[in-house]
Point group: C2
Chain length 148, copies 2
């Protein structure tokens, strides 16, 4: 097992993954405490995560009532978890730069599809670890502030 990474190294690796990965897992929950989890394509743009999904999806219904989400990137042995506040954005209200960046990153101009909307996730806590020996020191962001 590799030695545990420093906080600065974890942030370096995190940013690389945020810029290069295409998909994430997005967890939301109903007000009754029923969890939901789906894979979605995402864009990392100026410190926020953007995903697109259908306006009628369970995820959008959940987040319109409880705007807390947790996203996971990558693999179970190279974990990135992001807790944050979700904001729903109608496709025609999305900033053109974000729309263009999303289309360029994912290859999918979601805003041009009928019935799709965007979710902006503002990170509040981010955890980064690979194996058990990195569980200590896994926090790289708390209350929206980077720890290195």
């Amino acid at each position: 097992m590799a030695p545990p990474r420093s906080t600065a190294q974890r942030i370096h690796d995190l940013v690389y993954r945020l810029r290069t990965d295409i998909d994430l897992w997005l967890a939301s929950a109903s007000p009754e405490g029923v969890p939901h989890l789906i894979p979605l394509m995402f864009l990392w743009f100026e410190g926020r995560v953007f995903v697109a999904t259908t306006e009628t999806s369970v995820t959008v219904r959940n987040l319109s009532r409880r705007p807390r989400a947790r996203a996971a990137l990558g693999h179970t042995r190279d974990v990135i978890l992001i807790d944050g506040w979700a904001t729903l954005i109608a496709a025609d209200r999305l900033h053109p730069d974000i729309r263009a960046a999303f289309a360029a990153e994912t290859g999918w101009d979601a805003a041009s599809y009928e019935g799709y909307c965007f979710i902006e996730l503002e990170p509040e806590w981010i955890g980064v670890w690979r194996e058990e020996n990195e569980m200590a020191g896994r926090d790289v962001m708390r209350k929206g502030a980077w720890l290195a």
Copy 2:
């Protein structure tokens, strides 16, 4: 893109993954609708999923109050989602065969560790898909019954 698989083929591929994968993502939620999501090692045993985690974890606290969980196996482009009812099992109440199988599959005899308990997930709905063209027909189990 490969042609969409039949339901029977998806179940075949699902069972292979349940038998060979080591990790899954487990989503739970608080009664207030705050989602939680973590990677855990798992065992597939006689139609149920078993994971182990600490008794004081957010996952155990959530599931003790709202016993609904969603598990995801594998990759965002080879998706297996399992919705089900979760039962918490104290380590010393776990059936010895399950304890032994869990240790053999994961390489980790969780029941021997202080402060760990098990979660049994009984599948109620299972969805299996790879790409967009498999979204139709993704259900392979509904209300606990296999569809092929």
